[in-house]
Amino acid sequence: MPRLHASAGFGALLALVLIITFGAWRYDGFISEYNVLSVLRYNSMFALVGLGMCFVIMTGGIDLSVGSVAAMSSVVAAYLSPYGLVAGLAGGLVAGLAAGIINGFIISKMKILPFIATLATMLAASGVALLLSNQQSVPASYETNFMALGQGDFLAHAPEWVTGDDAGLLGGLIRILFGFPIPAWIALIAYLVGSLILNRTPFGRHVLAVGGGEEASRLMGLPTDRTIFFVYVMSGFLAGMAGVILAAQFGAGQPIEGVGWELFAIASVVVGGTLLTGGKGSVGATLVGTLLLGILFTVLNFENGMGWISLSAYWQSVLRGAFLLVVVILQSRLTRSAAAA
């Protein structure tokens, strides 16, 4: 049996490296500081949502509500942003958490299929978002430092010797660290913590065990219902975080954003090689998957900028779909040959 998730994750990583190399070779400014940082800033939201989805999918479930939960959280965060960064952040997180708890309850206690349960909360969350916002985007406060969550970095705190023109190589590298966008820091930390939870805590192992065989897990005495409950709570929480970043990045709570995020997140998880039927997956590979799909879009933009061809932005969804197709077929081949072996 091939090391399925490792090979698929490796494939995604290879594709990512290839595409970055291709971009760097073909386009000026592809690996410019500006471009790199904006790619990171924008994709940090998807990375967070993808992380939550990754845990959900590892239990063999699915969470369709992440996009509208993020939208709802962005509205809540924007409303609370005048009271400061902490208030906005907390508000958004609580909104996401609440949605996650409802999902977890409906799925693990009422025993309703994850896909239909989260479909319902998806509708409900977007209803709440629209009600709260009166169907308009809610401007976030520029008075407080709330916006830093979406757009800020630590450059202002960097010592002078790294920001100056004569900083040199080492200084330049340190400068990049300070210039790393805050949302990207948040995503990075979330992935580190997520990876730690998955690989080094009983809960993480139980997530994979439940996905690998719910009945067997129950017979082994694992708390299956509780595990399932918590992955949805986690997914809701991370979607809430993504919503906060959304509000801070675009300066407003966006009640109608987030459409299709769930599918994008599922695609990144799958591209990262996590098995859709559960039981097998990797947090790191999900990050690779998110970046891969995100960078595809950037490459398209650059390609259009070259003026040789005019591939509209619409190609991105076609390419993403094609990408997903390849991964899904490969996955099905691999699982089947594994089953036959």
Partner: protein, 340 residues
């Protein structure tokens, strides 16, 4: 009362011991009683409390609103009956909708006259949508990809294809002859409502009375047993996705005919959720094996009426979404209790 209900007479209690019923009555079963009761309660509430409810205008508005959902719902019900799901319906609507105007306007290839153009403009996009449905079915049946993921591919890429095809531009057209399929009236009822009713009745009948319909339910009810009884499980599964694609194609054409414009960015956007909600509320088992197309029609009507009731009584549309979510969970939960 409404003409939709005249076409669906009161349910005959499905008591055991009666010979199989024929005609429309046979399509209604005990399972519909709850759904129908909810619908009637909503109607009575509205007659009493909602001003101007009992008018042709209101009826027409409500029926037109559910038309597209129900047409797509016909295919979705069949897919769900086999234990699958089709997320790509909205994208397939967009493909059919974006493709059609280019044909009947003669932009793709010369058409001899308007009527041939319209005929081709209807047939070809529907066939195209069916082909994309076939692709879904191929993934599900041959590669055993879970339906939710298999159809996710076209959900993402399908709309992109339509957008690339039209470069994302709005195609405005003025071809009243084509638009008849949506807004033309027969006996005062919009033509699209007739299309919907025809599709619902034909497919509800087919689900009960044709070999294929029975095989669909058998595959959803117990795939292994169906296979051992010689049912071509793969072909059965493949075909439901084709049907779903064809229904989506028809729905896409109705949408552009209503708007006299095709916008690949918007046609069928988010419709998969409304459709799945209608199917669930209508009483079709989401795990497969039991399906009711009349139920899907009733489910769509209930959701629409709830929304209308709330709107007419001053509740914002957004709140209706929350109510809809509650309805879905309630309906599926009741289904579970019923089975247990």
């Amino acid at each position: 009362m409404s003409s939709a209900l005249e076409n669906a007479p009161a349910p005959v209690p499905g008591s055991v011991g009666t010979p199989p019923r024929t005609g429309v009555a046979s399509m209604l079963s005990r399972g519909h009683v709850g759904t129908l009761a909810a619908l009637i309660a909503l109607l009575i509430f509205n007659f009493l409390f909602t001003p101007h409810f009992a008018t042709m205008q209101t009826l027409s508005v409500n029926l037109t609103q559910v038309c597209v959902i129900v047409i797509v719902g016909v295919g979705m019900t069949m897919v769900i009956a086999t234990g699958g799901i089709d997320l790509s319906v909205g994208a397939l609507m967009a493909i059919a909708g974006a493709f059609a105007p280019q044909i009947f306007q003669g932009l793709l290839f010369p058409v001899p006259n308007l009527y041939v153009g319209i005929a081709l403009g209807i047939i070809l996009p529907v066939i195209l949508a069916g082909c994309f449905g076939l692709f879904n079915g191929w993934l599900v049946a041959n590669f055993r990809v879970q339906p939710i993921i298999a159809t996710l591919i076209l959900f993402i890429a399908g709309r992109g294809i339509a957008q690339v095809w039209t470069n994302g531009d709005l195609q405005v057209f003025k071809v009243p002859e084509f638009q008849q399929i949506a807004i033309g009236r027969v006996f005062g009822v919009p033509f699209q409502v007739w299309i919907m009713l025809a599709l619902v009745l034909i497919s509800a009948w087919a689900l009960r009375r044709t070999v294929y319909g029975r095989q669909v339910l058998a595959v959803g009810g117990n795939e292994q047993a169906a296979w051992l009884a010689g049912i071509p499980v793969r072909r059965v599964k493949m075909l439901v996705y084709v049907i779903s694609g064809v229904c989506s194609g028809i729905a896409g054409l109705i949408v552009i005919a209503m708007n006299s414009a095709a916008d690949a960015n918007l046609i069928g956007m988010g419709i998969e959720l409304d459709v799945i909600a209608a199917v669930a509320v209508g009483g079709t088992l989401l795990t497969g094996g039991r399906a009711t197309i009349i139920g899907t029609l009733l489910g769509a009507l209930i959701i629409q009426l709830v929304r209308y009731t709330l709107l007419a009584n001053g509740v914002p549309d957004a709140a209706a979404l929350i109510v809809k979510a509650g309805l879905i969970v309630l309906a599926v939960w009741l289904q579970r209790q019923d089975r247990a």
